[in-house]
């Protein structure tokens, strides 16, 4: 019964979103406040209805109700509770419900907290937002209904892919989707502004926090996916330029650009057209990501069982929103006049450079991802565009971006002094240079570009630190004065610094682990020892064990360094009960300067086991960097001055009558 309630709620949500799409937009057109006000209750209503559907589906998963086709296909009664829950979005249908749930949550947030928005803008934003929900609800109901029944109900489900049964992956999709879908806010505001024909700093003040929140979620979501791939897939890599990774990376790049251009718009009223365009493109790339992942178009080599109807449906949604958005942009953008003068050497100019490079990078990833499909469609010839292409093209685009980044924060608005900025960055440049020389001297085997890459990361990191120190008058004022100034810095300034420091750390981690990873592939018998990166590993043999829903063979390794015992590692090979599928669990010794990573392979003929050992220097910096970006974003978001419509306490009562 509850399953039918969920299904029914989804149908109702579709109808309410239709009302939310049409009524407020009409109200805004004719200037009728009452019609516009429908948007508010409809947005909350759609959210509540989709929430009911989601809860009903989750309930079916928790109860292991195998009379539901979707539950049967993706769950198993012996799974731990958390993976029965995460199984809700561990499949196509359920993940689309989550997608729409987050979408309507954002819509409801505008309805609830958008008191300060001009009513026509708010009505139009809600209408655009509803049109997206409407499209995806139809998609779910027509092609991907999670509430389909299965008669007769089987006794047991088929289970969830064991590699998905993992804590990081349980929360990876919700964050990723919050990011993807969060950019719909920027899109809706952009479209509403184009329809209104007006855009001002207040608009940017609204869009920026939403974009920032979405960007934070996407950053964390991608980082979680990368972290998971690193430890769970058992090959020690963390990024593969896989089309599906690219699908999430493109909106991230465009979203990063959008975030920065929204700053210019908010502070200086400049770059309006550019910001609107980026808002449309960022969400379009999110839709593109959804299309690429959901349609199965990427796997032309192994066309797997994805209903082609779904692919065409999402392609249609993507075409309508991207095409419609861009057409509207082309028609109306000229009416939006730029404001705010600035010279090329200025904070604005630096942010324009940031935008140009990030947009180019996003475009390059897009073309690299789609080119094989396009070429095959046009000529029938198949080519592969793999990691070497992306490294060759994406890397060089990041170099000027990272070089320019520290300058940007030291340049003033309108007209900056490049020489003064360079003088203030002298220390940072010196540190970077010293590190490069040291790396050349001591890390001689390895690619020649690696020390330069390392220096680039240090440069960004040191540049970010120099900025706060400069703002605190470090070296000019006394220490108490510096401390006072540091504590008085606005949170948004700290946010910028921390996020940029995160970028620097990430670059350091990427360069170090890519260039100086050590690897050994050996066959080891119990009792044998092997050496890697200063660690001595002794293989003590294999023992069998049993987990909640798997059996495993666990290898035992005693790790010593300089004769002292460091740790014991237990890399394992698991066989899950349902589906019967093997996985490997790497044994990882975590340290800040690098991970020792051990993978147990197959038994060899002579009683030995294949063992893979890696030392991944500074690999943690990659995820620490991502987390710092998230924290930086959160700090900036919590800055009261920049929070949208954050009224002072005493003025709060007037928000309500203003509705």
């Amino acid at each position: 019964m509850s399953v039918e309630i969920g299904h029914f709620a989804l149908v109702l949500a579709l109808l309410v979103s239709l009302a939310q799409m049409v009524v407020p937009a009409w109200g805004a057109h004719v200037g009728d406040e009452r019609l516009m006000a429908v948007g508010r209750s409809a947005a909350i209503g759609t959210f509540v209805l989709v929430l009911i559907a989601f809860v009903m589906l989750a309930d079916a998963y928790v109860r292991s109700d195998f009379s539901v086709l979707n539950v049967w296909a993706n769950s198993h009664s012996a799974k731990p509770l958390i993976y029965r829950l995460s199984g809700v979005w561990g499949n196509h249908e359920g993940s689309m419900v989550l997608w729409v749930l987050i979408l309507t949550l954002f819509g409801a947030a505008v309805a609830l907290f958008g008191g300060y928005l001009p009513s026509t803008l708010k009505a139009r934003v809600l209408a655009v937002q509803a049109s997206i929900s409407f499209a995806f609800l139809i998609f779910i109901l027509l092609t991907s209904n999670p509430f389909e029944r299965l008669v007769p109900a089987p006794l047991e489900g088929r289970g969830l892919n064991p590699i998905l049964q993992d804590p990081a992956l349980a929360f990876h999709p919700p964050f990723l989707y919050a990011g993807y879908v969060g950019f719909s806010m920027a899109f809706s505001f952009a479209i509403a502004a184009l329809i209104e024909g007006r855009i001002d700093a207040a608009w940017a003040r609204w869009v920026r926090p939403w974009t920032l929140a979405a960007w934070m979620c996407l950053t964390l979501g991608i980082a979680m996916g990368s972290w998971w791939a690193y430890y769970e897939l058992g090959w020690g890599g963390w990024w593969f330029w896989d089309p599906v990774e690219n699908a999430s990376f493109m909106p991230w790049l465009a979203g990063t650009a959008l975030l920065h251009s929204a700053v210019v718009m908010e502070k200086r009223e400049a770059l309006k057209v550019w910001t609107i365009l980026l808002a449309i493109l960022t969400f379009s790339l999110s839709l593109m990501g959804t299309f690429l992942v959901r349609s199965g178009v990427l796997s032309s080599v192994h066309a797997f069982a994805v209903d082609p109807k779904r692919g065409i449906f999402i392609l249609a949604i993507m075409t309508i929103f991207t095409g419609g958005g861009l057409a509207l942009f082309a028609a109306r953008a000229t009416e939006l006049k730029q404001g705010g003068l600035f010279s090329p050497i200025s904070r604005e100019g630096a942010l324009v450079l940031n935008n140009v490079l990030l947009a180019t990078a996003a475009g390059t990833v897009l073309i690299g991802t789609l080119y094989p499909l396009a070429l095959e469609a046009v000529t029938g010839d198949k080519i592969s565009v793999g990691p070497p292409y992306f490294n060759l093209t994406f890397g060089p685009l990041m170099v000027p971006l990272l070089l320019a980044l520290p300058f940007g924060s030291f340049l003033g608005w309108k007209r900056g002094d490049l020489r003064a900025a360079a003088e203030r960055l002298l220390t940072a440049a010196g540190i970077a240079l010293v590190v490069a020389v040291l790396a050349f001297a001591f890390m001689s085997p390895g690619p020649w570009a690696a020390p330069l890459g390392l220096a680039l990361g240090i440069w960004v990191l040191a540049g970010a630190i120099s900025e706060v120190l400069f703002r605190a008058r470090f070296g000019q004022a006394g220490l108490p004065e510096v401390a006072r100034r540091l504590s008085n810095l606005p949170r948004s300034a700290w946010g910028t610094t921390i996020a940029h420091a995160g970028v620097g750390l990430m670059v350091i981690g990427i360069v170090a682990t890519s260039a100086w990873q050590s690897e050994r592939i050996v066959a080891m018998k119990p009792g044998e020892k092997t050496l890697i990166a200063g660690y001595m590993l002794e293989f003590r043999g294999i023992e069998s064990g049993r987990g909640p829903n798997y059996s495993e063979d666990r290898g035992r390794f005693i790790v010593t360094r300089d004769g002292r015992r460091t740790t014991e590692l237990y890399p394992a090979k698991r066989l899950y009960d349902a589906p019967r599928q093997p996985t490997t669990e790497a044994g990882i010794h975590v340290a800040l300067w690098g991970d020792l990573y051990v993978v147990l392979g197959d038994a060899q003929k002579d009683g030995a086991f294949a063992v893979r050992l890696y030392f991944n220097p500074l690999v943690r910096f990659i995820w620490i960097g991502a987390v710092l970006m998230f924290i930086g974003g959160a700090l900036s978001l919590s800055d009261r001055r920049l929070r949208v419509g954050a009224p002072r306490k005493s003025r709060k009562p007037m928000v309500v009558p203003a509705e």
């Binding site: 892919n161 590699i163 998905l164 896989d242 006049k337 404001g339 180019t360 475009g363 392979g601």
Partner: protein, 182 residues
């Protein structure tokens, strides 16, 4: 910085998997289709494949990392556990032992399998747009930004705000706010 290394041996599945959640779904769907087709858990480069000559082995690894596993999705033969990938890895090592240069080994394999096997697409008539794309995009974005920026230089700052009069509702709210503040 620009030349990252690709080392991700020990693949768990007969057919590739990698990366993010969505991909895992792909793997899962794939898995559903391959139930009964047999699973061969194995790792990529096996100890018995490793050449005793470390320099030659490094060359073999470098070449393998650039060759696509033909039965996998976007995975190099260096990472794949598919039997075909193992055959190719052994073939690469045999050619190297026979004295072939790196280029000769690659062209030998391309002759047999076509350009599809190369993870780094060759530069030719068909891929000229692919390789030119970053530069064209950079120029395009730069020109667009420049025109925007030029526009901003010529425009008086506040013209648009002055042009748009307040709507009735805005005037009402402005009045309300002013009254509250006073």
């Amino acid at each position: 910085m620009t030349r990252l290394f690709w080392r991700r041996p020990n693949v768990l599945f007969p057919l590739s998997s990698r990366g993010t959640f969505g991909h895992s779904i792909a793997v899962f769907l794939l898995f559903c289709m391959t139930i009964g087709a047999g699973i061969f858990p194995a790792s990529a480069v096996q100890p018995d494949e490793v050449l005793s000559d470390a320099r030659m082995e490094a060359r073999a690894r470098h070449i393998s990392a650039g060759l696509r596993c033909m039965v996998c999705q976007n995975q190099s033969i260096d990472d794949s556990n598919a039997p075909l990938a193992r055959d190719l890895r052994i073939l690469v090592r045999e050619r190297l032992k026979a004295g072939d240069s790196d280029e000769a080994v690659v062209s030998y394999i391309v002759q047999r399998y076509g350009d599809f096997v190369l993870l780094r697409p060759p530069f030719n008539f068909e891929t000229v747009l692919l390789w030119a794309a970053p530069l064209l995009l950079l120029i395009g974005a730069g020109v667009f930004a420049w025109t925007q920026f030029r526009g901003s230089e010529r425009q008086p700052t506040q013209d648009r705000i002055a042009e748009a009069p307040l709507s009735a509702e805005e005037s009402r709210r402005l009045e309300e706010i002013l009254r509250k503040d006073a």
